[in-house]
């Protein structure tokens, strides 16, 4: 068990009160697992990813326990997390295009970055060059400024940097959404390759594009309005989802091969609730086609089949009652 998260709550402080962006997340991540984290914008998926690595204002830690490889992470303390950040847990940020210092050559920036973790650049240079070969970048990039690289190249460079110290957990936040389809495929496949070569032990891939997750992820976790809705293996989520939200989300995706004139897809009526004052009980209740009286209580996130967790009173049935 690589990562274990228990009842994690992270709120955003605002003048109008706390925004409950992440309200009780409990899940585990196995060794070598690539878990996709999907959901609409504002459902808390980025909050979850960031709280595992740098929980800074306006984010506020409420409660929860995060264990990585048997060691508890002090995620509420930004200073203490310095020991883990980049070495044990690392992130490829959402705007990787702007993640590098524009005033430094990439090689020098890497050396400074490693220096801050007391690692000598010279020791790691051979490995760095091997990794550059892996992502098909020439070694010359170390003598270039970030501006000289194209978007896809920067993205790959940041991937190499983030995983340089072989972190146990890698968080990839929307790394493919700004890329063209052809480089999207390349970057996504490289992520899998990194995992296969043990450059990182396990990974959480945050994206709104479920079709990308279907290609690369081992399991998918779907979030809705700050809470977990469903987690299962990729095949199960795509082909046999149980949670009504996942069902509607999957069925609203246009695929190559579907035409308006032949099969009309429909969206999910309504809007996600505001998290400043979320509704009591199941947060999907108002948009849910199968909601019933019981849904005014918060459904537990229970395992209905081995590895398949859902938070729904109706679908979980007797599992939830127990």
């Amino acid at each position: 068990m690589s990562l274990q998260v228990d009842n994690l709550r992270v709120y955003y402080q605002t003048l109008r009160g706390d925004v409950k962006a992440l309200d009780g997340a409990t899940f585990t991540l196995a060794d070598g697992e690539i878990m996709g984290l999907a959901g609409e914008s504002g459902c808390g998926k980025t909050t979850l990813g960031h709280s595992l690595i740098r929980l800074a204002l306006p984010m506020r830690f409420i409660e929860g326990r995060v264990t990585l490889d048997g060691e508890e992470l002090p995620i509420w303390d930004t200073e203490k997390m310095n020991d883990f950040r980049f070495k044990k847990i690392s992130i490829i940020p959402q705007y990787a295009m702007n993640a590098m210092n524009p005033t430094r050559k990439i090689g020098r920036m890497t050396a400074e970055l490693l220096g801050s973790r007391k690692v000598d650049f010279k020791d790691i240079l051979p490995e760095l060059k091997r990794r550059l070969d892996l992502v098909k970048l020439s070694h010359d990039v170390l003598d270039m400024y970030p501006i000289e690289l194209s978007g896809g190249m920067k993205q790959r460079m940041v991937m190499v940097l983030s995983t340089l110290l072989d972190p146990s957990l890698l968080i990839a936040d929307e790394i493919t959404s700004a890329l063209d389809v052809s480089s999207q495929k390349a970057v996504a496949e490289m992520l899998v390759e990194f995992r296969n070569r043990k450059c990182c032990n396990s990974a959480i891939v945050i994206t709104h594009d479920i079709s990308i997750l279907y290609q690369i992820a081992d399991s998918i976790m779907v979030m809705y309005a700050g809470q977990l809705a469903e987690k299962a293996s990729t095949e199960t989520i795509i082909h046999a989802p149980r949670h009504p939200y996942t069902k509607l989300l999957i069925s609203s995706l246009p695929e190559v091969g579907v035409k308006y004139t032949e099969r009309r897809l429909t969206g999910i009526p309504g809007n996600p609730p505001l998290l400043l004052d979320p509704p009591v009980g199941c947060r999907f209740r108002e948009r849910c086609p199968i909601a019933f009286e019981k849904c005014i209580e918060i459904p537990p996130f229970v395992e209905i089949e081995p590895g398949h967790f859902i938070a729904c009173w109706k679908e979980a049935g007797t599992h939830a009652q127990a």
């Binding site: 594009d209 609203s252 695929e255 190559v256 091969g257 579907v258």
Partner: protein, 316 residues
């Protein structure tokens, strides 16, 4: 209805405009009445430039755009206003289309001042209500609100309603749903399809092949400003001929089948190449003896309603 004849756009870039960037070169296609044409391309392929040229937001370097027998580059004054009554655009980012200081329905008021100055209030309100209902919005929920109080999907539909107020015949939809969430984007897409069935022609600019396939009958695939393949959507998707189109089809993430693990071509693209086929330096089947390194191939008919610009195809 709308006809593009050999249009090109050259941007001046670099210090003092010393370099030329061929954003669009010799693109021709037609959009018929009540037809949705998808313009598909990766970033930098010139697809938005074509949309802006049609809306006359930028000028063409050469070539003509003909709308209902009138060359739009020569329009001015009243004729130009008449053109905008027929042709409107909606763009990618719904938030940047609004002024955040004013309420969102100001976009309607501006239309009224410009195009319907004499309309009485009651008639105008009814018109707005009709337009909002046509795009599936409840007027009570969306009028009198600031842009930040509305969701991206609502704002985008608002802009389509604004275009509908003018009884437009032609809509340029430039990546209008790529910023929306999966659960709402399909509603906006269905809305476009519905408007199409009422006779509106749409130029649907996108990088997403699945969306293009869902909504359009005709597709045009652009690469570095050149048309590589165009024709009926079914033909292109079922039987892609150009090596670039095939590569695109192979890299689209799908839900029904996994990617084939092949070598993805990562050669970096340069802005534009002149004097050879646009796809020459990335093409796996390029052949110098056919002239791939010398000229950009012309579009030739592969089958009825399916054109492709590739020498290898001509040879076959």
């Amino acid at each position: 209805m709308l006809k593009l004849e050999e249009i090109s756009k050259v941007y001046r870039v670099g210090a003092f405009g010393g370099k030329e960037l061929h954003a669009v070169s010799n693109v021709s296609f037609n959009v018929k009445d009540g037809e949705v044409v998808s313009l598909i391309g990766e970033s930098g392929s010139g697809k938005s430039t074509i949309g802006k040229m049609i809306l006359r937001l930028i000028s063409t370097t050469s070539g003509n755009i003909i709308f209902n027998d009138a060359n739009i580059s020569t329009l001015s004054g009243g004729n130009l206003k008449e053109y905008y009554r027929n042709v409107q655009g909606v763009f990618q980012d719904p938030f940047s289309s609004y002024n955040p200081i004013f309420k969102a329905d100001r976009v309607f008021r501006l239309i009224r001042e410009e195009f319907y100055p004499g309309t009485p209030d009651r008639e105008w309100d009814a018109k707005i209500e009709d337009a909002l209902c046509a795009v599936g919005l409840n007027p009570e929920h969306v009028l009198n609100k600031f842009p930040h109080q509305l969701s991206g999907g609502q704002l985008q539909r608002f802009l389509i309603a604004r275009a509908l107020l003018l009884n437009i015949k032609f809509l340029v939809a430039d990546e209008i749903i790529s910023m929306l969430d999966a659960s709402t984007r399909i509603d906006v897409l269905n809305l476009l399809a519905e408007l199409k069935s009422r006779g509106l022609s749409i130029l649907f600019i996108t990088h997403d092949l699945s969306l293009a396939h869902y909504i359009s009958e005709q597709a045009v695939i652009l690469y570095r400003g050149c048309v590589t393949e165009m024709g009926a959507t079914d033909h292109i998707f079922d039987n892609p001929v150009h090596p670039y189109t095939r590569m695109l089809m192979a890299s689209v993430p799908r839900l029904d089948k996994k990617w084939e693990h092949g070598v993805v071509d990562l050669k970096e693209k340069h802005a534009a190449v002149t004097g050879c086929c646009a796809f020459y330096d990335r093409c796996p089947i390029a052949d110098k003896s056919l002239g791939c390194d010398k000229f950009q191939p012309m579009l030739t008919e592969a089958e009825p309603d399916h054109f492709v610009a590739c020498y290898r195809h001509v040879e076959r």
